[in-house]
């Protein structure tokens, strides 16, 4: 039976007053035979979960660091917001900053949502609306995020489409809140940021579920195949198609065509950014070239004959760059047409002729079916013509050109990572290329140094040339994305996670805007995997982690299995697969604690927040999408750490460890207000260095619900990394001791001394909750 879903959100009472929610009416959803009772907040509107958000936001206050102190969003402005001044619309600096954060979260959400929409519509065309959604074996609780948010279990692509209808309606409301003269208070902007993040996670889950169900991806498979990655793994004897972006559909058309026509000996397909994960999930013969930051270096190396761009994280001047190496570009997304002529309706042979002859630099093809044939044929025809010629100048030429350097420092001042480019250029004048090579390893491939150089030096190419020998050797194995975590895996680790015996789940996700190279991600993962934390990965971070090889030439994926278990490294897949990380946390509540998920957001978030020691790290977070993914985790109560560039998101969510009253919880067993140690101390934090990130990671895994055994294990790791990286014993250990049995036994004397110095008193271990209604004897929020 089907019914039309109409949801009216509750009224919410908060410190700011009483607000009436929105009435939501969305498309058709299957009203199935699910016997789980419907929770209080199915399909929440923008204010339905406001009181939950306020609970988090009063504990984790936004710390704004205005990145720009004027506003130019409407013609009232520009408005100067410094020194407590207000804009012409009445907005103040804090609200303006939170408004920009909401704008970023909306942009990120829209990218994922439009991606999911395209996938679902396309797959309905291909497989019909009734094609089933399958997450894989052992995933009885499939689509945990969708269950939690919408109260529905999506069974088919048609259901997936209806879930996206809801998400799209939310995004429209959130986007409208940023208009001049709409939302006015930072607290409400921030609550909407959380709502955007939650909506984003829904889109991620639906997008990945749809492709996993239909496109032969690994389905919740801990043994997802190891695939080849790195520059050196691409065979120069074959024609090469490079796919950049996030949407599998056009890339799949190419791999399918190659398989169908048995062209595997002639062509290979490599991916950059998340398309790399998704093509290798579908076809393990495809190659992962690398993260987003390797786009330019790979294009300029000349190895790619055809470049297919789909959506998100594509270099917007890709056509100009491809032209330099005479590679053909096929743009395939209506979101990134790149100025190319629309040739979707033209005969394939004509398009191929025009691309091979160089008459046009590229085409826009909305018809993905033709893309496979065009890309393959053009690549094969172009290969002998282009001879894989790149534009990397010879070292002799660089040396000669470098002699004219004006020593103006513009390259250094343009570099986001403050690399000593001028110095390296001056060394190259003398024939010393080591400094240029050194920069290559810390470089995010943005080419800002080049744009700034008055001599128009192709400085990034110079770095790539200097590092060419190591680039060519760059070969490593990565485990492609497995998709969801199985319920059976959760059953095995749920208890040790909630009780703290597995000290934490650490997810490395996101982009490659690293302050000092991708090796850092590997270092952080290894630090905690060897301590038996569960390491989860996705996106570009998951690629960078594979780069570092041990003495036996093995990557972290070859050394560690892909099960969701202590000490393992679990690659879930692309950006959309981040949903499985949130999904695993949600499933812990459902499976281990038997909590109902259906439309029960607050209760589950409260559970995760107080019990599941999970931390997200996005060391190279760059995009608005990283912001919306993070926001989805914040609302679920999962803290997120970003690298130093993440400070440019311009607001952190910070706890005050020194204010005891900020850390009160209800004890669900007794209804008492109980003070707990600050855990997790912050909800969003940019770390300055890898060392700081490591120490904070260990600390943010602490949760009020830890058992004594769990707490002492977590504290031992915290103390150990603190001493290792800061060189001293942390002085706040005593605050995390609730009773003697929490004390790590080997450090007893030291900690007892600290407790005595600070007049420590024994505290109870509550059954912690922020929701008064969770008190067993009854309570109301």
């Amino acid at each position: 039976m089907k019914k039309r879903v109409r949801i009216k959100s509750d009224e919410a009472t908060t410190g700011l007053g009483r607000f009436r929610g929105l009435e939501i009416s969305i498309g058709e959803l299957v009203d199935d035979d699910w016997d789980e009772p419907m929770g209080p907040t199915p399909m929440p509107g923008p204010t339905t979960l406001r009181s939950w958000d306020h609970k988090l936001l009063s504990r984790y206050q936004p710390s704004y660091m205005p990145y720009c102190q004027v506003c130019c969003l409407c013609t009232f402005g520009k408005c100067d917001l410094t020194g407590n001044k207000k804009g012409a619309c009445g907005i103040n600096m804090q609200a303006q900053q939170s408004r920009i954060v909401l704008a970023a979260a909306n942009i990120g959400t829209s990218a994922h949502l439009a991606h999911a929409r395209h996938l679902v519509d396309h797959l309905i065309d291909e497989y019909g609306p009734r094609a089933p959604l399958i997450q894989g074996p052992g995933t009885e609780i499939h689509a945990p995020i969708t269950r939690l948010i919408t109260g529905m279990r999506p069974r088919t692509l048609e259901d997936a489409s209806a879930v996206l209808d809801y998400a799209e309606s939310q995004l429209a409301h959130l986007l409208s809140a940023t208009a001049t003269g709409q939302e006015g208070h930072w607290m409400d902007f921030e609550s909407k940021v959380f709502h955007a993040g939650m909506t984003d996670h829904l889109a991620l889950e639906i997008g990945d579920l749809a492709q996993i169900s239909t496109l032969d991806f690994p389905q919740a498979d801990p043994e997802a195949p190891l695939v080849e990655a790195g520059f050196g793994n691409l065979d120069p004897e074959k024609a090469t198609v490079l796919c950049i972006g996030h949407n599998i559909v056009p890339a799949a058309a190419v791999t399918d065509y190659i398989t169908e026509k048995k062209l595997g000996n002639e062509i290979e397909v490599g991916g950059i950014c998340c398309t790399a994960w998704d093509i290798t999930r579908r076809d393990p013969n495809a190659k992962v070239v690398g993260p987003i930051s390797w786009q330019l270096r790979f294009i300029r190396s000349g190895k790619a004959d055809v470049i297919i761009v789909d959506e998100q994280c594509v270099r917007t001047n890709v056509v100009e760059e491809a032209q330099k190496v005479k590679a053909a570009v096929i743009s395939t997304s209506d979101k990134a047409v790149m100025g190319l002529p629309d040739r979707s309706d033209d005969p394939v042979d004509e398009i191929i002729d025009d691309l091979v002859s160089g008459k046009i630099p590229g085409v826009y093809m909305s018809d993905h079916k033709k893309v496979g044939e065009i890309a393959a044929k053009v690549a094969i025809a172009l290969k002998p013509k282009r001879k894989k010629k790149g534009i990397l100048p010879s070292k002799a030429k660089i040396k000669k050109m470098a002699a004219d350097c004006k020593k103006c420092m513009e390259c250094v001042r343009a570099c986001p990572n403050d690399q000593p480019v001028q110095e390296a250029v001056l060394a190259a004048q003398q024939g010393n290329f080591a400094p240029l090579e050194e920069i290559y390893h810390n470089c995010i491939g943005c080419a800002r140094c080049e744009s700034a150089c008055p001599n128009d030096y192709l400085l990034h190419s110079w770095m790539v040339k200097a590092a060419e020998p190591s680039c060519d050797k760059e070969k490593f194995m990565v485990r492609t994305g497995r998709g969801a975590i199985q319920d059976t895996e959760i059953r095995r680790v749920g208890q040790p996670i909630v009780f703290g015996e597995i000290p934490g789940v650490i997810a490395h996700v996101g982009c490659a805007n690293y302050p000092g190279g991708g090796e850092d991600v590997h270092h952080m993962m290894e630090e905690f995997a060897s301590r038996r934390y569960i390491i989860v990965a996705s996106g570009c971070a998951a690629m960078s982690a594979g780069q570092v090889l041990d003495e036996a030439g093995k990557s972290i994926y070859e050394r560690r299995d892909g099960e969701f278990d202590a000490g393992m490294v679990v690659n879930v897949g692309s950006c959309v697969s981040n949903s499985h990380i949130a999904g695993a946390a949600i499933k812990i509540a459902a499976i281990f604690a038997k909590r109902n998920l259906r439309g029960n957001y607050e209760e589950i978030a409260d559970y995760i927040y107080n019990r599941v020691g999970a931390v997200g790290i996005s060391w190279g977070a760059m995009s608005q999408k990283a912001a919306s993914i993070a926001a989805g985790f914040w609302r679920l109560g999962v803290p997120v750490i970003v690298g130093p560039h993440g400070s440019k998101y311009r607001r952190m969510l910070m706890g005050r460890a020194d204010k005891e009253k900020d850390w009160l919880v209800w004890d669900a067993r007794t209804g008492d207000r109980v003070s707990v140690a600050p855990g997790p101390e912050h909800l969003f934090y940019a770390a300055e260095t890898v060392e700081e990130c490591n120490v904070l990671t260990a600390k943010l895994c602490l949760r009020p619900n830890d058992t004594s055994k769990g707490r002492s294990i977590k504290l031992s790791h915290y103390i150990d990394v603190h001493e290792k990286y800061y060189g001293y014993f942390p002085d706040d250990v005593w605050t995390y001791i609730r009773r003697d049995s929490d004390i790590p036994i080997t450090l007893k004397d030291k900690i007892l001394g600290q407790m005595k110095e600070n007049d420590w008193e024994e505290r109870r271990i509550p059954d912690p909750t922020l929701l008064k209604r969770m008190i067993m004897s009854g309570g109301a929020d």
Partner: protein, 181 residues
């Protein structure tokens, strides 16, 4: 006088920007009148040279001479401790950016509330955001940056100085607070 411009070219801030320190004496008044100053030293101080040592050594000398406590950010504290200097506490740069907005915050060792921060060694763009928090929401405080590059959100900053000149000025400032002997 040349107009001071941000070190990273895109980091333009807003209507207000720092005054450029061209001579150490310009900041003497602000330093001397501060009752509760603090030195904030970031992780890059470990590798930034000054004379025969690093900017960590400079911080230690400064702190001893002026009797100003140090808060080290990132993992910089380890270098201080390894040098046997322990008048230092540790906080994250972003924690500091947050706590400094609270006029009642008394600092990690209770020796605040601070009325002056002297800062260097945090990655340029991150120090930029920290100083923005202070400029916009911490007006109970004066911020001076002693790094070589111009930080528009401080009250006073060096204007992208040549390295030698910067070291000379740093030495002058050290002398001003009774050090450098």
């Amino acid at each position: 006088m040349m107009r001071a411009i941000p070190w990273q070219t895109g980091e333009i801030c807003g209507p207000d920007s720092a005054k450029a320190i061209t001579k150490a004496a310009q900041i003497e008044r602000d330093i001397k009148k501060a009752k509760k100053p603090v030195l904030v030293i970031g992780s890059e101080a470990l590798t930034q040279k000054h004379r025969k040592g690093t900017m960590v050594d400079y911080a230690i000398e400064f702190s001893k001479a002026a009797k100003i406590p140090i808060i080290a950010t990132g993992n910089a504290i380890k270098a201080f401790l390894e040098k046997g200097f322990d008048e230092v506490s540790r906080m994250g740069a972003m924690e500091l950016a947050f706590y400094l907005q609270d006029p009642e915050w008394t600092g990690p060792k209770g020796n605040g509330p601070f009325d002056l921060i002297l800062v260097y060694g945090i990655p340029y763009y991150m120090q930029w955001t920290l100083l923005s928090a202070v400029m916009n929401f911490g007006d109970h405080m004066t911020a001076i940056t002693l790094g070589r590059h111009y930080q528009p959100h401080a009250k006073w900053s060096f204007p992208n100085m040549k390295e030698n000149r910067w070291h000379d000025e740093l030495d002058e400032i050290l002398k001003m607070v009774g050090g450098g002997k």
